[in-house]
């Protein structure tokens, strides 16, 4: 019998529908994989094998009764622990929410359950999604299943959706939710040899997703194939009147629309992304991608995104500014951690609670955000950053007059080792250099596996599309995927 944990969404869905195996068998297989890997990889904050089984049983029963099955019927998935899940602890990987069990279900997770998916557990992440390596989680960092050949040094699974990426790469789940604020789906996908798409801002409801930076946060699927991403995104997305920034547009049939031909399409190559001292393996992989899309029928055009170099500083003003305000609600008054020293007044309680509850990276960003919004600095930082953000968005608008999608690397390097950058925040922030511009512009962008670097670690290629054109992004991703023929997987050592 096939190892069910090797299957992706499409195969599980058709196998369950055809009766080749049951949804319960699939859930059991993944539950076992999760349990076996948890001590070594720490991909989950909590595991919920019973929830996975319960959802699977429902699907099996429905199938037996001849009822129609959902888009994700029988597919167990991992849920990033940023999504509120009713009755299951939701922490954002922070001590300040340890033990917090919501009475509500996020719109995105509810959409997935409605489509027949089941939950294997809540996936680890960088605390409040702030980080690029998963090292800021309060519940221990996720270990990437990938290792450099002949080396046991633990590698970063990327971040912030590092639990998601590690779990998918290690076959602990066929797919998982991610969220992307400045690259948190794409960079971990690239680091672990999987696919992931951040849709257009507003496609997926933010209702019930613990907020990091509201104007940037966007949920998306992570899986091992472009098709699986398309299937899952279809299930996740949709207008939600409970989110004022939700797009009131029908959800396209992205899976049915998949088409790897790039004939008649123009692919833009942004010259500003070719940085001095670029990692030669990353440069080579980018060239491979260009060749593959050309092979798929695309015309390659050079484009300019002149404000690219301002994207990172802009992002690191806007995101912390919003975060500093979004995280003010964690005050020890109503839920989550409360640290109330003897004789403490309200201010003391705030200080003690937040000092104990937030990790250092979260505190750093709250302080940066508070600073850039302060009287006397607001115009110099926040207002200026908003102006630059507009210019960056305009760069893309102008570029898309000359091309249909943009091809770029996802991250400047392959996965780094844990600890390598954790004491240098700036080096860590530079990881987002290719992913942040699309986030600031709210554009759909995906990462697909492109190959391995000279160390044997995965590299990703990023496709950025026009607003609302997830289809174009997925199609270019599919064209890359078919030509990259990426089959590498981490050797099982856990």
């Amino acid at each position: 019998m096939t190892d069910l944990t090797e299957l992706g969404i499409a195969d599980i869905r058709s196998g369950v529908a055809a009766g080749t195996f049951t949804a319960v068998e699939v859930a059991e297989a993944f539950n076992a994989a999760v349990a076996a890997a948890q001590p070594a990889l720490n991909a989950f904050i909590v595991t919920t094998p019973e929830a996975a089984l319960a959802a699977a049983r429902k699907v099996d029963t429905a199938r037996a009764a001849g009822q129609p099955l959902g888009k994700l019927a029988g597919v167990p998935i991992g849920m990033k622990d940023l999504f509120a899940t009713k009755g299951v602890q939701t922490t954002a990987a922070s001590r300040i929410l340890e033990g917090f069990t919501p009475e509500y279900e996020s719109t995105v997770s509810q959409n997935l359950w409605n489509a027949g998916a089941g939950m294997l557990g809540k996936l680890n992440l960088d605390q409040f999604a702030m980080g690029s390596s998963n090292e800021t989680s309060a519940f221990g960092n996720v270990i990437s299943p990938w290792r450099r050949p002949g080396d046991t040094a633990p590698l970063a699974p990327g971040g912030s959706s590092g639990g998601s990426s590690a779990a998918i790469a290690a076959r602990l789940c066929p797919a998982a939710t991610g969220t992307d604020t400045g690259g948190s789906i794409r960079q971990p996908a690239a680091f672990t040899g999987i696919a992931g798409i951040k849709p257009t801002y507003g496609r997926c409801s933010r209702w019930g997703v613990v907020a990091f930076a509201s104007s940037l946060d966007q949920a998306g699927p992570m899986a091992r194939s472009v098709q699986d991403c398309a299937i899952m995104l279809e299930a996740m997305a949709g207008f939600d009147p409970k989110d004022s920034t939700s797009l009131n547009l029908p959800v396209p049939a992205w899976e049915a629309g998949l088409n790897p031909s790039m004939a008649g399409k123009k692919v833009g190559i942004p010259r500003e992304y070719r940085l001095d001292g670029m990692d030669p393996d990353v440069a080579r992989s980018w060239d491979d991608g260009i060749a593959w899309l050309k092979d798929a029928g695309a015309e390659i055009v050079e484009i300019s995104l002149p404000h690219t170099r301002y994207a990172l500083p802009t992002y690191y003003i806007i995101a912390p500014a919003e975060a500093s305000s979004n995280l003010a609600r964690y005050d020890g008054v109503r839920y989550g951690l409360r640290d109330l020293p003897d004789g403490a007044g309200l201010q003391d309680m705030y200080a003690a609670t937040r000092a104990a509850g937030f990790g250092p990276e979260v505190k750093r960003r709250i302080m940066i955000g508070t600073y850039v919004l302060s009287a006397g600095f607001y115009d110099a930082y926040y207002t200026q950053a908003q102006k630059v953000r507009t210019l960056i968005a305009r760069d893309f608008e102008l570029a898309f007059q000359h091309c249909d999608v943009i091809l770029a690397p996802t991250a400047p390097t392959a996965a780094f080792a844990l600890g390598e950058k954790s004491d240098d925040p700036l080096a860590m922030y530079l990881n987002d250099v290719f992913s942040v511009p699309a986030s600031l512009a709210g554009l759909p962008a995906m990462s697909v596996p492109a190959g391995l670097d000279r160390q044997g670690l995965p590299l990703g290629l990023q496709v950025i599309g026009r607003a609302f054109d997830e289809q174009g992004v997925l199609n270019a991703g599919l064209a890359l995927e078919q030509r990259a023929g990426f089959t590498a997987k981490p050797a099982k050592w856990w």
């Binding site: 509120a84 996020s106 997703v209 613990v210 004022s244 920034t245 305000s325 003010a328 609600r329 607001y378």
Partner: protein
């Protein structure tokens, strides 16, 4: 404006007071500004709290368009610019009654821009002394919750029922120059809000409260440094706070000190203000656009629908009462000062006109005079308000009709009204039961007149000799003899005939 400007007599001369008011008015709506929770007053603590109001992780605000509609209607009622494009900002600060850690407000782009309110300082003649008070803006924002300090020996409790309820902040220009003007402005604003129905204006329940900005200066000089006295919750307290704060500032300045820009609190027990926090301790609110909300863009059709939904407002109504109904400015002012009075009056007017088969303009004076003297007098005595008047407009119209058709005299009408208040019975039934029907039969009155004149022959002589004041005496005697039921006009006519 009256010529006798309000001045504080200081040791160094006269001082002028400059006043601006920021009024927080709770919007009348079923649910809160950004959540579906109920916004009614008086529920058990924390019974009206949604996940959004409690700022649970991942919760998002969605604007309640009814609250926006009410604010736009209010703006239109003060002749203000409506901004079709406005935006919500976050005002960040920590407090236990503020679950999000920020208040969603509108700093940079308010919903309503420049408008104005005309106030009158002379009740006798509302048109003679009108002053226009500028309104800088109206923005909508969330209210905070409430702390309860009396529930536990060492802890405070939080009630979030009010958290997220919609407020309009109505910011005046510093255009007022006396406590009386501030009082008139507040009363007029409150009246407009209640006419529009966008705020119930109930200051006791806190649905309307004012932050009072006061500074003093020598007349003609630039504005002085102002203080802001927070959350004053009655018209009288606002006036007291201004009086106290202005004379305090004069004392400070005349003793060589400087007024500190600060936030102050009003103590209703002493009528004084005291410092709450100075500018140095002021919060840095770190306002920025709320990224959870899109800019609020209003269609022209929405604004027009708001305009079409506005009722006739107090000033327009007062003018109509004067021109179309022929009421005096004073009476028109009284009848239109409160929406309830105007509503009651118009119901009475309609009923009265119908019952008498006349046009409203023909019965307006009778109805207006009766309402402002008889009914208001009675309500005053009974300590009741117009809303729980023991007599309905229809019942009152019945009484007025009996006077108009000569069934009873005005004097008898007063008695009948008293009986109506006592018994709740209708006027006609009382007149019938008590035999109060007026005598207009000339023959019967003639007989009484003849008897009165015969009994008082000496006075008739005096009258004929020129002491015409005695005419009233004869009228009185005749009426008395007829137990007040004689038609006074008939009595007059017959007496004049008989006395030659």
């Amino acid at each position: 404006m009256t010529n006798s400007a309000y001045r504080i007599q200081g040791a160094t001369g006269e001082w002028e007071v400059v006043i601006g008011l920021e009024v927080h008015a709770q919007v009348v709506s079923k649910s809160k500004l950004f959540s579906g929770a109920s916004a009614t007053f008086g529920a058990e603590p924390n019974a009206q709290v949604s996940l959004v109001d409690a700022a649970m992780p991942g919760m998002l605000p969605v604007p309640n368009m009814e609250c926006i509609r009410q604010a736009v209607r209010t703006g239109l009622a003060i002749d203000a610019q409506i901004n079709a494009w406005s935006r919500f900002d976050r005002k960040n600060y920590f407090y236990a009654d503020l679950p999000q850690g920020y208040q969603i407000s509108q700093l940079y782009h308010p919903l309503v821009g420049e408008g104005h309110i005309d106030i009158s300082l002379d009740d006798k003649n509302p048109e003679a002394a009108v002053k226009r008070i500028g309104i800088e803006r109206i923005h909508v924002e969330q209210d905070a919750g409430k702390l309860m300090h009396d529930q536990h020996p060492t802890m405070s409790y939080v009630d979030l029922n009010r958290s997220g309820v919609a407020l309009m902040e109505i910011v005046s220009r510093p255009d007022m120059r006396s406590p009386a003007e501030a009082g008139a402005y507040l009363r007029k604003l409150r009246a407009i809000l209640r006419y529009v129905g966008s705020c119930d204006g109930n200051m006791e329940e806190g649905s309307m409260r004012a932050d009072v900005n006061v500074s003093v200066r020598k007349p003609g000089e630039p504005f002085g440094t102002r203080t802001e006295t927070k959350n004053v919750n009655s018209v009288r307290f606002v006036m007291q706070a201004i009086e106290h704060e202005a004379s305090r500032q004069v004392d400070v300045l005349e003793s060589g000190g400087k007024v500190v820009q600060e936030t102050r609190l009003f103590d209703p027990d002493t009528g004084t203000t005291r410092s709450m926090r100075s500018k140095e301790d002021a919060h840095d609110y770190r306002y920025f656009p709320d990224p959870d909300l899109l800019p609020l863009v209003l269609e022209a059709s929405f604004i027009e629908a708001c305009r079409a939904s506005l009722p006739e407002l107090p000033d327009a109504k007062r003018q109509r009462y004067e021109t179309a109904l022929g009421l005096t400015p004073y009476v028109a002012g009284v009848l239109t000062a409160e929406v309830e009075t105007a509503r009651w009056f118009e119901a009475l007017l309609a009923e009265t006109a119908t019952k008498q088969g006349k046009g409203e303009e023909a019965v307006a004076k009778q109805a207006a005079n009766w309402l402002t003297s008889e009914l208001f007098g009675a309500l005053n005595r009974l300590g009741r308000s117009l809303e729980d008047s023991p007599v309905s407009p229809a019942q009152a119209a019945e009484l007025l009709a009996l006077v108009a058709d000569g069934t009873i005299s005005g004097t008898i009408a007063k008695q009948v009204f008293e009986k109506m208040l006592e018994t709740g019975d209708g006027a006609a039934a009382i007149v019938e039961r008590e035999g109060l029907k007026q005598e207009s039969d000339t023959g019967a009155i003639e007989a009484v007149v003849a008897k009165v004149l015969a009994d008082n022959a000496d006075k008739v002589e005096q009258y004929k000799a020129g002491k015409e004041a005695l005419f009233g005496f004869f009228v009185g005697q005749t009426m008395k003899a007829m137990q007040g039921k004689a038609n006074p006009q008939v009595v007059n006519d017959l007496l004049k005939q008989a006395l030659g």
